[in-house]
């Protein structure tokens, strides 16, 4: 079992690093029991992107936020740069934490990775919540991704941060400073550039084949910010048929931050509903 410890004396919040074959996995964990929920951040982000959601999602279950390869405190090795390769790494991570079955929440790139995990190990994924998800075959702003991983200065970092939000936010200056500071790490930057080149660049204009949603046996819901300037709202024919689709008017590409309370409430209700459904028990 990996060693985790409270981030401060007596805290419910624990931080740990799991040793898995594909490279160490840094994570945060709150709460216990239930069908746990696994939170997957987006490109260039980390487990802290869930700062406003993690505790609230732990009321009926353990909530675990992990840094994907090339991000945060996890292995800097992104392998070939194919983000689909993160799925077997996540299976190893679930094994290391002895998590037999989890609800998966994936934001942006994390949504794509979550879908890959669901395809690879459908018996391990109780449900999928896709939040402003990549990989639905719609266009996205590739140039923004290249700028955001290495802003030329703090000002450009702030401009990148502002593009993530629907409107003014007290969080933008700090996010911008973090983007700029992270851009100074050459190892991180190289890994993220490889991901862009290998996994994203060929798909930025959209037009890819629609997702074969029949391959996903678990319940799915889709959440989006109406003012998302990075991955705009997908058309209905790109969405899983019959799945709940919630749009948050006051949010951009980070609805879990900008509309934290309603997004968290939507996730909680969906997960609780999945847990309580007769077919899931």
């Amino acid at each position: 079992m990996p060693v985790s410890k409270p981030v401060s004396e007596g805290s419910r919040l624990r931080a740990g690093v799991a040793t898995v074959a594909g490279g160490p996995a840094a994570y945060l964990s709150v709460g216990s029991g239930g069908v746990p929920v696994l939170l997957l951040h987006g490109f260039g982000g980390d487990r802290l992107t869930w700062q406003f959601n993690l505790s609230a999602l732990s009321s009926r279950r353990r909530a675990v936020a992990v840094d994907l390869p090339g991000h945060g405190g996890s292995t800097p090795d992104v392998g070939s740069g194919r983000v689909s390769d993160f799925a077997p790494w996540l299976v190893e991570f679930l094994d290391a934490l002895e998590l037999a079955r989890v609800h998966v929440i994936g934001h942006s790139m994390g949504g794509y990775v979550g879908r890959e995990l669901a395809l690879l190990a459908p018996d391990r994924v109780a449900s999928l919540t896709l939040l402003a998800s990549a990989g639905l075959g719609t266009p996205f702003d590739l140039g923004f991704l290249r700028r955001a991983i290495a802003p030329a200065d703090v000002e450009e970092g702030r401009a990148c941060a502002a593009r993530l939000f629907a409107g003014p936010s007290p969080l933008i200056p700090r996010f911008g400073e973090v983007l700029y500071a992270q851009g100074a790490d050459p190892v991180r930057r190289a890994g993220l550039e490889r991901i862009i080149d290998v996994s994203f660049a060929a798909h930025a204009d959209g037009g890819g084949p629609p997702v074969d949603w029949s391959a996903y046996p678990m319940p799915i819901q889709v959440l989006w910010g109406r003012a998302d300037g990075i991955i705009p709202l997908p058309p209905a024919d790109r969405l899983p048929p019959g799945a709940p689709f919630r749009v948050f008017d006051t949010a951009g590409h980070l609805p879990h931050i900008e509309a934290a309370s309603p997004v968290t409430a939507a996730i909680r209700a969906f997960l609780d509903g999945c847990d309580d459904a007769p077919s899931q028990s």
């Binding site: 981030v7 934290a260 309370s261």
Partner: protein, 77 residues
């Protein structure tokens, strides 16, 4: 949990000496007030009071006193 207890809990959470925080401090002046501290704070308030602090409101907090108000602790001494 009263104001004093919350301040002591925040001291401990931010790895400050007990009694350091008084409520007047600007959050941006506290080096340890970062995203991890935000998660810890929400978990702390949830554990002590059963209230889940809303992220949107927490994002607007500027001082330790603002945190106390979000936690439901009396703001005045």
């Amino acid at each position: 949990m009263d104001r004093k207890d919350f301040l002591l809990a925040l001291d401990e959470m931010l790895e400050l000496d007990p009694g350091t925080l008084t409520g007047d401090e600007a959050l941006e002046s506290l080096e340890a007030w970062d995203s991890l501290a935000v998660i810890s704070f929400i978990a702390l308030v949830d554990e002590k009071t059963g209230v889940v602090v809303e992220g949107e409101k927490l994002a607007k907090a500027k001082t330790v006193a603002d945190l106390l108000a979000l936690a439901g602790a009396p703001v005045a001494a």
